[in-house]
C-alpha cells in the first residue's frame, strides 16, 4: 500500500511537472501585470499616438507648432518607436475645454493608442487630462503652462491628473514675473486683470495678483470676458473706471486682439500699460493688431539660448515645412515628444510572439522618472507633478511690429527665474 501511494505521488508530480513544462514552452504571452493594463500591439502593428491640439481658430498656429515638434522628434528616429512605425491620431480641440474632453474621448476609445501628445491650451488639457487619466493613459504637452494642471506653491494643483506631464514651464511663475517687472521696473502700483475664465488665464492673473499685491501694488479690477466676446468696451470701461495703471490680460486670440485694439481707441486708456502672455508671442498676433501692440509687454517662457541643437532643429523645421517657426513652442514640443518617445521605447516589451506590449502604469512611471533628458531647451527632469522644465520667464516689449515676432523675442526687457 505505501509503495502504491508513492507511485501515485510520483506520477502526479510528473504530470504537474509536464504540464508546467508544456505551459512554459507555450508561445502564449504572459498576461499583462500592469495595474493600468497594457497596450498590446500585434506583430507589425504600428504604435499609435493620440495628438490633441488646437488646430482651428486663431490659436491653430500654436497647435501646429506642437504637432510639428512631435513630427520632428519622430523624424529623428525615422518615424519609428520601438522599431515600429508610428501613426498619429490627430484631434482638434478648438482651444476649448469641451473640445479637449471630446477630443480625448475620441482618442481613448482606441485601445491601441499608447499615449497622448497634447494639448495646446491649458483649458483643453484640464478636461482632456481627466479623460486620459480615467483611461489609464499618459499625456505630455509642450505648450500647456497653466499652474492648475500640475502644482501651485509646491503642492498639487486642483486640476492635476496623474499621467499628465509637460515641458512648457509652469506659469505659476509667469504671473509673478510680470508682476515683479510691472511693480519694480515700470513702477506700476495699480493694475487690472482680464481673464477668460480659462484656467490658463486664471493661473496667470492669480499669480500676477498675488505677487503684485505682495510687492505692495493693488489689483483694482479682476475682470473676465467670455471666449468669443467681441465687445470689450464694457470691460475696458471698467478698467478705465478702476484707474488702473496697467492692464494684465493673458488672453488668447482673438479676444486679446479685441481688448488691445479697443483699448487703444478707448478714451482714458491712452496711458494704460498693456501686458499679456506668451500665447500672443507669435507673428499672427502682431500681424493682426499691427502698431496697436507697440509698447505692449509680454511675459513668456525664456526661449533656450541659441545652441547647435536648436539651430539644427530649426534647420530641420525649415527644411520640412518651408518656413521659419513662428514661435519657440516647437522646441518644448520637440522635447516633450523626445521624453515621450524615450519612455515608450524604454517601456515597450517585445513578446515571444512578436507582439509589442506597453504597460500603461510603466509608461507613466518611466515618464515621471525622466531625469536629465538632453532636450533642445536644456536638461529636463520631471517632478512628481508632471513639470519637466525649469521655470524661467522673460518679459518682452514690442517696440517695432515691423520686426515681427523675432524682433519681439529679441527684445527681452526682463528675465525671471524663481
Amino acid at each position: 500500500m505505501r509503495n502504491r501511494k508513492r507511485t501515485i505521488k510520483t506520477l502526479a508530480a510528473l504530470l504537474v511537472a509536464g504540464g508546467l513544462a508544456f505551459a512554459c514552452s507555450s508561445d502564449a504571452p504572459p498576461p499583462c501585470a500592469d495595474p493600468l493594463g497594457c497596450v498590446e500591439l500585434a506583430r507589425g502593428a504600428p504604435v499609435r499616438l493620440g495628438v490633441i491640439q488646437a488646430l482651428s481658430g486663431k490659436v491653430a498656429v500654436l497647435g501646429r507648432e506642437q504637432v510639428r515638434g512631435l513630427e520632428l522628434a519622430l523624424a529623428r528616429q525615422d518615424g519609428r518607436i520601438a522599431g515600429r512605425e508610428t501613426v498619429l491620431a490627430v484631434e482638434d480641440t478648438g482651444c476649448r475645454p469641451e473640445g479637449g474632453a471630446n477630443a480625448a474621448l475620441k482618442i481613448v476609445s482606441d485601445p491601441s493608442v499608447a499615449a497622448i501628445f497634447g494639448t495646446t491650451c491649458s483649458g483643453d488639457a484640464a478636461t482632456a487630462a481627466q479623460v486620459m487619466t480615467e483611461a489609464g493613459l499618459s499625456m505630455i504637452s509642450g505648450n500647456n503652462s497653466a499652474p492648475f494642471l500640475t502644482s501651485i506653491g509646491g503642492v498639487r494643483a486642483p486640476k492635476w491628473q496623474p499621467g499628465f506631464l509637460r515641458t512648457a514651464p509652469n506659469e505659476e511663475h509667469a504671473g509673478p514675473a510680470a508682476a515683479r517687472y510691472a511693480y519694480d521696473t515700470l513702477g506700476m502700483r495699480t493694475a487690472a486683470t482680464i481673464g477668460d475664465g480659462d484656467i490658463y488665464t486664471r493661473g496667470l492673473t492669480d499669480g500676477f495678483r498675488q505677487e503684485f499685491e505682495r510687492l505692495g501694488g493693488k489689483v483694482v479690477l479682476y475682470a473676465t470676458v467670455n471666449k468669443d466676446d467681441t465687445d470689450m468696451a464694457p470691460v475696458l470701461d471698467a478698467v478705465a473706471a478702476s484707474r488702473a495703471q496697467m492692464l494684465f490680460f493673458p488672453l488668447f486670440q482673438p479676444e486679446a486682439n479685441h481688448v488691445l485694439l479697443q483699448a487703444r481707441r478707448a478714451p482714458g486708456l491712452q496711458d494704460l500699460v498693456l501686458m499679456s502672455d506668451g500665447a500672443l508671442i507669435e507673428q499672427s498676433f502682431i500681424d493682426a493688431v499691427g502698431h496697436a501692440a507697440t509698447g505692449m509687454f509680454f511675459v513668456g517662457p525664456t526661449p533656450p539660448p541659441t545652441s547647435p541643437a536648436v539651430e539644427r532643429l530649426e534647420a530641420e523645421y525649415r527644411a520640412r515645412y518651408g518656413e521659419s517657426p513662428p514661435t519657440s513652442y516647437h522646441l518644448s514640443a520637440f522635447d516633450a515628444a523626445g521624453i515621450l518617445l524615450a519612455a515608450i521605447a524604454k517601456t515597450a516589451q517585445t513578446l515571444p510572439d512578436g507582439s509589442l506590449r506597453i504597460g500603461r502604469q510603466a509608461l507613466r512611471d518611466a515618464l515621471y522618472a525622466t531625469k536629465n533628458h538632453a532636450g533642445v531647451t536644456g536638461s529636463l527632469s520631471c517632478d512628481g507633478f508632471g513639470d519637466c522644465a525649469a521655470p524661467r520667464f522673460d518679459v518682452l516689449r514690442l517696440d517695432d511690429p515691423a520686426l515681427g515676432v523675432a524682433g519681439l523675442k529679441a527684445n527681452a526687457v526682463s528675465s525671471y527665474a524663481p
Binding site: 478648438g94 476649448r96 475645454p97 469641451e98 473640445g99 474632453a101 471630446n102 474621448l105 475620441k106 481613448v108 476609445s109 482606441d110 485601445p111 475664465g197 475682470a223 473676465t224 470676458v225 467670455n226 466676446d229 465687445d231 470689450m232 468696451a233 464694457p234 470691460v235 470701461d237 471698467a238 473706471a241 478702476s242
Partner: protein, 568 residues
C-alpha cells in the same frame, strides 16, 4: 497479400483481390461515408446559418439600439432645450415637470441603453466586422455616456439657476429688490441701480457678458458714490454695500454658470459632430452586417443545397459504380457460372468459366473448372468403356446370331443328311397348305423309303447305312427343284414337298429320283432301290392327312414290288 503488393496493383487490382463480403462491406462503407458526409454538410450548413442568424439578430439589435440611443439623445436634447426656452414663460416647476424630468429620464435611458449596447457589442454572437469596430463602438458609448452626464449636470446647473425658490435669478432679483429698498432714499443711487438693473435685464435676454459687465461698471460707480451719498445713513450704506457685494457675487456666479451652460451647448455640438458620423457608420455597418448575414445565409443555403445535390449525385455515381463493380465482379460472374452450369448440364463438357483468383467466385470458378475437367475425364472414360463393351456385345451378338442361325439350321436340318428335318418339313407343309388354300394352287408331296435298308444296316453296319442315307440325300438335293423342299422324314424315309406342283409332275420327279437311285452304286452297299408314294394336296387338307396319303401310296408301292412309284 502485403500492402506493397496492394499498392503496386492499384485500386482495381486491390478491388479484385477483395472477397465478396469485403467488397460489399466496402461498398456499404462508402455509401455510409457519403450519408455521413451529406449529414455533416447539412449540420455544418445549419451551424453556419445559426451563427449567421445570431449575428444578424445581434447586428439588428445593435442597429436598433443605436437608433434608439440616437433618438433618445435627440429627445433628451430637445427636452433640455425646451426646458431652457420655456421655463421663463411657463414657470420653472411646470417646465421641469414637462421637460426637465423627461430630459433626466431620457438621459438615464441613454445611459441604460449604452450599457445594453455595450453588452451586445461584447457578446459572443456579434460579428467580427462589428467587433473590429470596437473603437467606434467605444467612442459612441463614451460620447453617449458623456452626453447623459453633461445633460444631467446641466440640468442641475439650470436648476441652480432658475429654481424659483432659491435659484440664482431669483436670488439676484431678491438682491436687486433689497438693493432698491436699501437705496430707496437716494434718488441718484436708485437711478444708478436702475441703470445697472437694465443692463442686467439685457444680459438676461442676450446672455452677452458685456451687458453684465456694463451692469458691473454701473454698480462700481454706484459703489464709489455710496459712501458719500448724504441721503443714506451709515447703516443703510453698509447694508447697501453688503447687498452690492452679494449681488455682484451672485452675478459672477451666474456668469460662470452661464458660461458652463454655454460651453455645454458647444459640447453638444462637438459631441454631435463626433458621434453622428460614428452613429451613422455603426448603423450602416450593422445594416451591412445584417445584409451580409442574409447573404451568407442564402449562400450557405445554396452551398448546402449544392453540396447535398453534389453528394447525392456523387452517391448515385458511386452506387452505380459500386453496382457496376459488384455486377462485374460478382453478379456477372455468378450469371456466367449459372449459364455455364446449364450448358454443362446440357452436355457441353468443354465449358470453363473465368476464374480470376482473389475472391470466392474466383475460387468457385476454379472449383467449377476443376469439376468440369473431372466430369470430362469421367465421361471420356465412360465412352471408352461403353465403346469397348458395345464392341464386345456386338461380337457376342454376332456370335449369338451365328449360334442362333446354326441352331435354327440345326433345328430344321437333319443332322446326318443335311436335308430338312421333320420339323422343317412340317413347317413347309403347313406353309404350302396355307398358300394352296389362299391361292387355290395345289401342291404335291413325294414320300420315299429305301428298300431293304435294314439289311444294309444289318449286313454292313449302321455306318454304311448312314453313308447310304447321305448319298441318297445328295441325290435328292441334286435332282430336286430349287423350289422343292427335301427332307428326311425319319429313318430311311424321305419327303419331298413340291410347291405348285401337280401329282403328275411330282410323279415325274419321283421317277427321276428312282432312276438315279437305281443307277447309283453305293459304297459297300452296292445297288439299292427305293419306293415312292406321291400325293397331291386337297382343299381343307392338313399336313398329317396329306402325308398319310403319301405314305399310303408308298405303302402300296412297297406292296406292289418296291422300286416303284404309286400315286394316291
Amino acid at each position: 497479400m502485403r500492402p506493397s503488393e496492394h499498392a503496386s496493383r492499384g485500386p482495381r487490382g486491390v478491388w479484385r483481390t477483395l472477397g465478396i463480403t469485403r467488397k460489399l462491406g466496402l461498398a456499404f462503407l462508402l455509401l455510409l461515408a457519403l450519408v455521413v458526409l451529406v449529414s455533416l454538410a447539412a449540420l455544418a450548413a445549419l451551424a453556419l446559418v445559426d451563427s449567421a442568424e445570431n449575428e444578424m439578430v445581434q447586428s439588428m439589435e445593435i442597429r436598433q439600439k443605436v437608433f434608439e440611443m440616437d433618438g433618445e439623445r435627440e429627445k433628451a436634447r430637445r427636452f433640455y432645450q425646451s426646458f431652457l426656452l420655456s421655463y421663463p414663460e411657463i414657470g420653472f416647476f411646470r417646465a421641469q415637470e414637462t421637460y426637465g424630468q423627461p430630459a433626466f429620464a431620457t438621459a438615464a435611458r441613454v445611459i441604460a441603453l449604452s450599457e445594453e449596447l455595450k453588452r451586445l457589442i461584447t457578446g459572443s454572437s456579434v460579428s467580427a466586422n462589428l467587433r473590429r469596430r470596437n473603437v467606434d463602438m467605444a467612442l459612441y458609448l463614451s460620447f453617449s455616456r458623456r452626453f447623459s452626464a453633461i445633460l444631467m449636470q446641466n440640468m442641475e446647473l439650470l436648476t441652480s439657476l432658475a429654481e424659483p425658490e432659491n435659484g440664482l435669478w431669483v436670488r439676484m432679483d431678491r438682491a436687486m429688490a433689497s438693493l432698491e429698498a436699501a437705496l430707496a432714499g437716494s434718488r441718484n443711487l436708485s437711478l444708478l441701480l436702475r441703470e445697472a438693473n437694465v443692463f442686467a435685464k439685457q444680459y438676461r435676454l442676450t446672455r452677452q457678458r458685456p451687458q453684465m459687465q456694463s451692469a458691473f461698471n454701473v454698480l462700481t460707480r454706484l459703489r464709489a458714490q455710496l459712501p458719500a451719498d448724504p441721503a443714506l445713513d451709515a447703516p443703510r450704506r453698509a447694508e447697501a454695500a453688503a447687498l452690492l457685494d452679494g449681488y455682484v457675487a451672485l452675478a459672477d456666479k451666474l456668469l460662470d454658470t452661464h458660461e458652463v451652460i454655454r460651453s455645454t451647448f458647444n459640447d453638444f455640438v462637438l459631441q454631435a459632430r463626433a458621434v453622428d458620423p460614428v452613429s451613422q457608420e455603426l448603423k450602416e455597418a450593422s445594416s451591412a452586417e445584417v445584409e451580409r448575414a442574409r447573404t451568407r445565409i442564402a449562400w450557405v443555403g445554396r452551398a448546402a443545397g449544392g453540396l447535398v445535390v453534389a453528394a447525392t449525385l456523387f452517391g448515385l455515381a458511386c452506387a452505380v459504380a459500386i453496382a457496376y463493380a459488384i455486377n462485374a465482379s460478382v453478379t456477372r460472374k455468378i450469371a456466367d457460372m449459372t449459364r455455364r452450369a446449364a450448358e454443362l448440364r446440357a452436355g457441353n463438357l468443354e465449358i470453363t468459366v473465368a476464374a480470376e483468383p482473389g475472391d470466392e467466385l474466383g475460387e468457385l470458378g476454379a472449383t467449377f473448372n476443376a469439376m468440369t475437367q473431372r466430369v470430362r475425364d469421367l465421361v471420356e472414360n465412360l465412352e471408352d468403356n461403353v465403346r469397348q463393351r458395345t464392341a464386345e456385345l456386338d461380337e457376342k451378338n454376332r456370335e449369338l446370331d451365328r449360334t442362333n442361325r446354326t441352331l435354327e439350321v440345326l433345328s430344321q436340318t437333319d443332322r446326318l443328311t443335311g436335308l430338312c428335318n421333320r420339323r422343317r418339313l412340317d413347317q413347309a407343309l403347313r406353309a404350302e397348305l396355307r398358300r394352296a388354300k389362299r391361292y387355290r394352287k395345289p401342291f404335291s408331296v413325294i414320300m420315299i423309303d429305301v428298300d431293304h435298308f435294314k439289311e444294309v444296316n444289318d449286313r454292313h453296319g449302321h455306318q454304311v447305312g448312314d453313308d447310304v442315307l447321305v448319298r441318297l440325300a445328295d441325290i435328292f438335293a441334286g435332282l430336286a427343284r430349287e423350289t422343292d423342299t427335301v427332307g428326311r422324314w425319319g429313318g430311311e424315309e424321305f419327303l419331298v414337298v413340291c410347291p405348285e406342283t401337280g401329282p403328275d409332275v411330282a410323279r415325274n420327279l419321283a421317277q427321276r429320283l428312282r432312276a438315279e437311285i437305281e443307277e447309283t452304286v453305293f459304297p459297300v452297299a452296292g445297288r439299292l432301290t427305293a419306293s415312292f408314294g406321291v400325293a397331291a394336296s386337297a382343299e381343307e387338307d392338313d399336313p398329317d392327312a396329306l402325308v398319310q396319303r403319301a405314305d399310303t401310296a408308298l405303302y402300296r408301292a412297297k406292296q406292289h414290288g418296291r422300286n416303284r412309284i404309286e400315286t394316291f
